[in-house]
Amino acid sequence: MNEIGMTTNEIIGLALIIIGVLFDLSGCVGLVRLPDVYNRIQASTKCVVLGTTLILLGAMVSLASPQAVVKGIICILFILITSSTAAHALSHAAHRSGVSLWDKSVIDRYAEDHGHENNEEGAL
């Protein structure tokens, strides 16, 4: 204990949690600012995975018990697996149902090779 009444673990944990929340926040800003579905999925996976992982690490450090560490590691593992899988499924589904890329996108090799499946009658 020191003069602010927190242990070192708690201070480090809190710092990690604050950094994590800032990353989560920037992910949300990206969700609003970025132009199309694909870019937004990028922001919401990358920043949110990093942010949430840091929050969990912060919780692990500040609780500092083996139980908390085990739970934290399992949760991090699940987040890593599920968020990337969800991002892949969402973006793939969006592309298949004909959601176009942003106007200023430089290239779309997937549309060149496969075409937008619902786009053949000029729906979009």
Binding site: S26, K46, V49, A68, I74, S84, A87, W102, K104
Partner: protein, 185 residues
């Protein structure tokens, strides 16, 4: 994939062993999750354990077909060593990915140049490709949209540096391929 089937059928476990492994994995995960955080007021209750046994047994009964992982590969210590190394490489890229995207999003001019590129992977096994696709999605500015049967990855890239297929593969895929190849192939 044919190679995958050929290699795993050599070591194919009997169905009841597969179920037993699945049961054990589920039960261990359950115990880890119900293990109380506070050692003072928390205790592992018999009811928790019973529920875990029941659920794990149910999952093991229903999900037999889901266990297609090559177990021999997983008990190989060399794979474990490379998984351990890969963990650090991967963490570094996750950190870089988060920082990179946060920078692009918060920058007033928003320096993005998105596009979907096509790259070819040298990995042959399904597990390896899945892991590669997931790793790509979590790292700087890249998102896997589709993986085809013959190992072509379509990747949405937040900042397309190059339109050349080889160069793009070098920048996006190669940094992980080497490690994943060591782990799974």
């Amino acid at each position: 994939m044919d190679e995958m089937k050929a290699s795993s059928s050599t070591y194919e476990l009997k169905p009841w062993v597969q179920r037993l492994v699945l049961f054990a994995v589920c039960f261990v995960f359950w115990l880890a999750l119900v293990w109380p955080v506070s050692p003072v007021d928390g205790q592992l209750l018999p009811g928790d354990i019973a529920a875990g046994l029941f659920v794990s047994a149910f999952v093991a009964m229903v999900m037999k077909e889901m266990v297609r992982v090559n177990f021999i590969r997983f008990v190989n210590p060399r794979s474990w060593f490379w998984i351990f190394v890969y963990l650090f490489v991967f963490s570094y890229y996750v950190l870089k990915g988060g920082l990179d995207v946060a920078y692009r999003v918060l920058h007033p001019a928003m320096p993005i140049k998105p596009g979907i590129v096509k790259v070819r992977s040298v990995l042959k096994t399904e597990t390896g490709r899945t892991m590669l696709a997931n790793s790509i999605t979590l790292t700087p500015g890249t998102l896997t949209i589709e993986v085809t049967e013959d190992g072509i990855f379509y990747i949405h890239w937040l900042f397309v540096n190059t339109l050349d297929e080889e160069e793009a593969a070098k920048q996006v895929l190669r940094r992980f391929e080497w490690f994943i190849g060591r782990i799974f192939e």
